[in-house]
């Protein structure tokens, strides 16, 4: 980001959000925006980083000893422990993408028995191939397990499972991650070919396709919750 004058109103809002001087309604609107706008989030991060030395310079104050027991008592029960909420969705996604990569490179991938490669090379020519992308997910190497083609012009994706198998009692869910870095579900991977409408905001193509293992019926949160067994870039068809 360049120095000097601000480029937009939204930069002032990000700066004042961090400063704490936004009026209550604008502050709430900004907080909501941060959940869906990575650019705004990055601006807020930059401002947090710039001003952080002031926070760190604030002298320590010892809280009363009883405060820890109050915190301990207020902690949610064991059922909630295994799924800490991801309060910060952008940061959460970055962590998730890292975990996906790790999983893909390590044992997680083998356990799930899925691998993905990108289909290279031309397919039979189409009248207008712009906005068409394809990814192929394979099972163990040779046999394609899943072919995903995305047509951003018509806003549809075609999913053709060949041999994708979900672990018992689980569903495989397909995700599209576009420029805004927010995973959007493309639906569950069934046993037959499906044509699905792309969710809004997937218009740009050029993204990642990811497959995650979810509870039966799909992610309860609208975001990937289980192990992501692979991600791969969509390539232009």
């Amino acid at each position: 980001m360049s120095g000097g004058p601000f480029h937009s109103d939204s930069e002032f809002r990000a700066a004042e959000f961090v400063l704490g001087t936004l009026p209550v309604d604008e502050r709430a609107a900004m907080a909501a925006e941060l959940g869906r706008d990575p650019v705004a989030m990055a601006r807020v991060r930059d401002w947090e980083r710039r001003l952080a030395p002031l926070s760190l310079a604030v002298p320590d104050e010892n809280p009363p000893p009883r405060l820890w027991s109050a915190i301990q008592q207020a902690l949610p029960g064991p059922s909630a422990l295994t799924h800490p909420a991801n309060d910060n969705r952008i940061a959460g996604l970055a962590a998730q993408v890292r975990r996906w990569r790790t999983a893909a490179a390590g044992t997680g991938l083998i356990a799930a028995g899925l691998a993905l490669f990108l289909a290279l090379g031309p397919r039979p020519s189409e009248p207008d191939a712009r906005g068409r992308y394809v990814a192929v997910v394979t099972s163990g190497g040779d046999l394609p397990a899943l072919i995903v083609s995305v047509d951003t012009a018509s806003g549809t994706a075609q999913v053709r499972p060949v041999a994708a198998k979900a672990p018992d009692g689980r569903s495989l869910e397909l995700w599209y991650i576009g420029a805004d870095k927010s995973p959007k579900t493309l639906g569950l991977i069934g046993s037959g070919a499906t044509r699905i409408s792309l969710p809004p905001g997937t218009g740009a193509g050029d993204g990642l396709i990811a497959v995650s293992v979810e509870p039966q019926g799909g992610s309860p949160t609208g975001q990937p919750t289980g192990q992501v067994v692979y991600t791969g870039k969509l390539i232009r068809d």
Partner: protein
Amino acid sequence: MRDDATLARLLREIAAGDQSALRVLYDLTAPKLFGIVLRIQRDRSLAEDVLQDVFLKVWQAAGSYVPENGRPLPWLCAIARNRAIDGVRRKSEVQGPVREDGEDWLEQLADPRSGEGALLDRDALRTCLGRLDAVQAECVMLAYCEGWSREELARRHDKPVNTIKTWLHRTLASLKGCLEGAR
């Protein structure tokens, strides 16, 4: 010690549901975070409630901490500041009276005992704040460190709220320019 590696490891353990890691993190960071909260929420008992919320939030959100987005202590400080500001801005929590002994935040930034790590960042911020119009820089520091609203700053300086808003924007823009020039 609350070094980055230790704090990052504790956050990972907390994300995995380890309560004892939360306790260690609390011991290491609660005085710093309470210091921050108490400057904004000056009512001590309300500040204790805020701090409790902060650690419950850390418990929930630890999994979303990623080192790429910054060092762990500033991440924790941001959670504490946000929670404290949310409360006083919503007026759901009355802020408590302004402290008689106003702190000089620019001075505080120069104190070699204060701040941790990232000395370069601290010196750059101090230099840049020092170059700004003193009154306007003070508005930024009072807002950031003590949670002053635009309206409170307007009353302090006997100016319209819009003037304060203009001051803040101008100051923040100059600050950004200065800090990026210094990098």
